[in-house]
Symmetry: C2
Subunit: 375 residues, 2 copies
Amino acid sequence: MSDFSILATDGKARRGALTTAHGVVNTPAFMPVGTAGTVKAMLPESVKATGAEILLGNTYHLMLRPGAERVAHFGGLHKFMNWPGPILTDSGGFQVMSLASLRKITEEGVAFRSHIDGAKIMLTPERSIEIQHLLDADITMCFDECTAFPATPEQAAHSMRLSMRWAERSRKAFQARPGYHLFGIVQGGIYRELREESAKTLTGIGFEGYAIGGLAIGEGQQEMFRVLDFTPDFLPLDRPRYLMGVGRPEDIVGAVARGIDMFDCVMPTRSGRTGLAFTRRGELNMRNARHTDDTGPIDPECSCPACRNYSRGYFHHLIKAKEMLGPMLLTWHNLHYYQELMQGLRAAIAAGTLDAFVADFHAQRAESESDRSAD
Amino acid sequence: MSDFSILATDGKARRGALTTAHGVVNTPAFMPVGTAGTVKAMLPESVKATGAEILLGNTYHLMLRPGAERVAHFGGLHKFMNWPGPILTDSGGFQVMSLASLRKITEEGVAFRSHIDGAKIMLTPERSIEIQHLLDADITMCFDECTAFPATPEQAAHSMRLSMRWAERSRKAFQARPGYHLFGIVQGGIYRELREESAKTLTGIGFEGYAIGGLAIGEGQQEMFRVLDFTPDFLPLDRPRYLMGVGRPEDIVGAVARGIDMFDCVMPTRSGRTGLAFTRRGELNMRNARHTDDTGPIDPECSCPACRNYSRGYFHHLIKAKEMLGPMLLTWHNLHYYQELMQGLRAAIAAGTLDAFVADFHAQRAESESDRSAD
């Protein structure tokens, strides 16, 4: 059984729909990140209003605070945070490695100390799956080790094979229920043979969807696209493909053309909090003095509340004055921009005009008035 | 001409309506504070949704950043901050004394240094009125010196008489236009004779409304109520009376019963940002550990989004995790509580049942489950 339908294709790109216990996700989809049970600076109804259909929650943060058992006591993450739609949770593996201290990886799992209170904690595939079950995730991710970049072929192979053994344990620990999905994560660094081996191992186990992990961690867009030129071909056509932690608008456009269906990234939300606004003509830094007296909107073609009701000069003021309304409205604008981009990509694939859409996307950015890149 | 209509009275309390250039304000009214061109952590449409009809803007903050001339360039404060309704601005006098450094008061005005960049600035009655004109305030306040507490009768008299001379200069500097009002400010500390002298001086000049200044600055509720027992009697019945910077719910209830029509205070917004929630049964501190596992709402009888959609445990989590959504929703709840209180007071005055309303207000608080006072 697959709850994933492919409604149209255009080259390698796919326009699909994934049914989950809490609703349907139209793909290609971008998932705003709700790290600690909230998409920072946004009411959930505002996130919904941007067009988002699915959120990402972070297992690592939620297991530490408020705790997975506590979220279950509140009826699961949907009820706790007032988001009735689909939720995907990561496995905690990536953030244990980037945020926790005194990490020790063994075959069993990862022992670490909480970055909040120093508590000693063990995270294993079984516990990660249990936590995601307690959170009531519609899409659960296998516990894996995100292979570092750079890594030698030997390091990447060693790391990937550990993740594959953990994927098998994750599959066994997962309780199958209608509308609840477990995704495997392809690792293997930048190496074609390792990506192929990983994909074959995972498809041998069998998952409802497949993520591509270990990218957008320093290898650069060109190298990422090279890996995305071959990795999706190792995966079954009829299952959703999720590129973890990506990315900038231009990364998403390039990845969709290479057959990716799902994305998540903190960029629109995090950038919004620092005063950066994404537009079809590039990124604007509202802190820049050139916006001080500008009575025009961030993007005259954008229909979000930030662009309909406020001037660039007002945002410049809010950011300078450190007023919360700046992050609130710029986060809204950026999520709206990302969702509009996804709607455009979905419509273009359905119409068979993705090439023209991509050309237009790059042409608009070439007329850029960008203040600086989002890096 | 007066744009103030008294629709009903109950004892000294009045149910009125004040017409301004940007709309009607039903009184008794509570004005949320939008210090720097935004009610902190709130979209203006959310402020409106709480029932607020008029905001307060701060001349001192706005003159320093973004600057009054700049706000005028953006079409005035209403347009700049996307609040189409009435706005009252203070004169800057109070905050110059509490926030600026190297202050020097002369007959001419106050010289000071900006707390933002140290710039040397002179604020006079004429400049204060000009700034409020540039901001396009519906209600402009006379420039005054808020007499300190405690003050000897001599100090209070000296300070009050300076404010009266400044009130006369403010009146002369103010450009009369339909729907735009200038309010005088009664000073005189805790001294009946000085309050009477100040009120007589102001009514001799003639203003569209009268504020009572120099209270809620350390004298305590009992002493404030004592001053409010006689001061409103010195003011014309047919003009609105505004008690500046007040206050806690119980202060407002007591002041309305003594004939006050308008209020402003940072308490609901500032408290919301620190995790404090006002309820009819007292103030709750959402940081308190007893809320950790509580699946119930802040106030089951409250219809605001914070109480309809979220648990106390969720707010405890948001505050502990320092998530912006906590201040956003708690500010909304507190403003909703304050506006519901004002609606209740207005309805009770109209029905002639204010005594019963006040008794019920205190009875509900006596069954308090308060975590701590809002002080």
